[in-house]
Amino acid sequence: MSADLDVVPGITTRREEAMSTLQKLVSAPLGWARKYSLYQYPFVTACCGIEYMSLACARYDVARFGAEIPRFSPRQADLLLVVGTVNCKQAPVLKRVFEQMAEPKWVIAFGVCASSGGFYDNYATVQGIDRVIPVDVYIPGCPPRPEQVLDGLMLLQKKIQGQKHTLIDRQALPAGTGRGP
């Protein structure tokens, strides 16, 4: 199974994520810890929610991947699962929820409506949530089979393992964020 994932394109190492051996020594266990304990925020809007529910239940157990706990607060979650159609009316809400999440955070676009607007190419639907927030993994399907979603989750786990993780994240805040009360 992991041999299939090895030939997937798009998971390459960016220059800023290249690591020395010592950094890899730190990053590998941190990546292992982060990928096997994903706290998901299920941003469920539409029919894909049914498949999300069946994913979380006994048969297609997502708990065995460590991603069991849904946290319905963005402050406590690190994986934003956007499940279902996102309208132009809902897009500011989604953006706000994403901005409230703390780093490190990842986004999965669950279903074709979240990935590309689905078959709703009309006046109301955002054509893919990547027009609003950055997305890590896209899972197509209308709705996707739970096995397909688990495949996407494993793809995300592989991506997380390959990213650069440090013990202390010193990042400059984006320009414009004040330290107000």
Binding site: C88, K89, A91, P92, K95, S116, G117, D121, N122, Y123, A124, T125, V126, Q127, G128, D130, R131, V132, I133, P134
Partner: protein
């Protein structure tokens, strides 16, 4: 069965109701003049032989190119007498309003808001005359035939997505 309903209606309002016909699926339909719709609806509800106590669907149609342009369609049912009727009311574009029948059936509240939101037909007498589906900053009425199909009005600025390959197809056109 509903022929009696249509006959009673035409007998009561000979000037307001015209062109009764039998529509698709055996439904009885009639055209009603715009100004008298409230009286007609009140009669249909309160007459004990007719007793139309439900308005399960009220919608609007845009016939672009035909004068009058819009048509509001009232589907009425009676749960006690088990008959149905459909009323069609032509609404011209330059006088795009029709008296609200909210006073007759509370259930048309959201349908009339939907007709305002999607078609731009006003309902004087409606207590809460605002948009139903679209957000308040939205300009225009999207289900009109001259509104573009893909006329999105995003509330948040969209990110540039150069590095994601969209591929051919209708999605790439927008």
């Amino acid at each position: 069965m509903s022929k009696a309903v249509i006959d009673a209606l035409v007998a009561r309002f000979p000037d307001a109701v015209h062109d009764p016909y039998v529509g698709v699926g055996g439904d009885d339909c009639a055209f009603v003049r715009k100004e008298r719709i409230a009286d007609v609806c009140r009669f249909l509800k309160e007459d004990p032989a007719l007793d139309f106590n439900q308005a399960p669907y009220v919608t609007a149609v845009d016939y672009l190119g035909v004068e009058p342009r819009f048509e509001v369609v009232y589907n009425l049912t009676s749960t006690s007498k088990n008959h149905r009727i459909r009323l069609r009311v032509k609404v011209p574009e330059d006088d795009c309003q029709i008296p609200s029948v909210w006073g007759v059936w509370r259930g048309v509240d959201w349908f009339e808001r939907y007709c305002w939101d999607m078609y731009g037909i006003r309902f004087p007498g409606h207590p809460d005359h605002r948009r139903l589906f679209m957000y308040d900053e939205f300009q225009g009425h999207p289900l009109r035939k001259d509104y573009p199909l893909r006329g999105r009005q995003p509330l948040v600025p969209e990110r540039p997505v150069e590095e994601i390959y969209r591929g051919p197809g209708p999605g790439g056109r927008d």
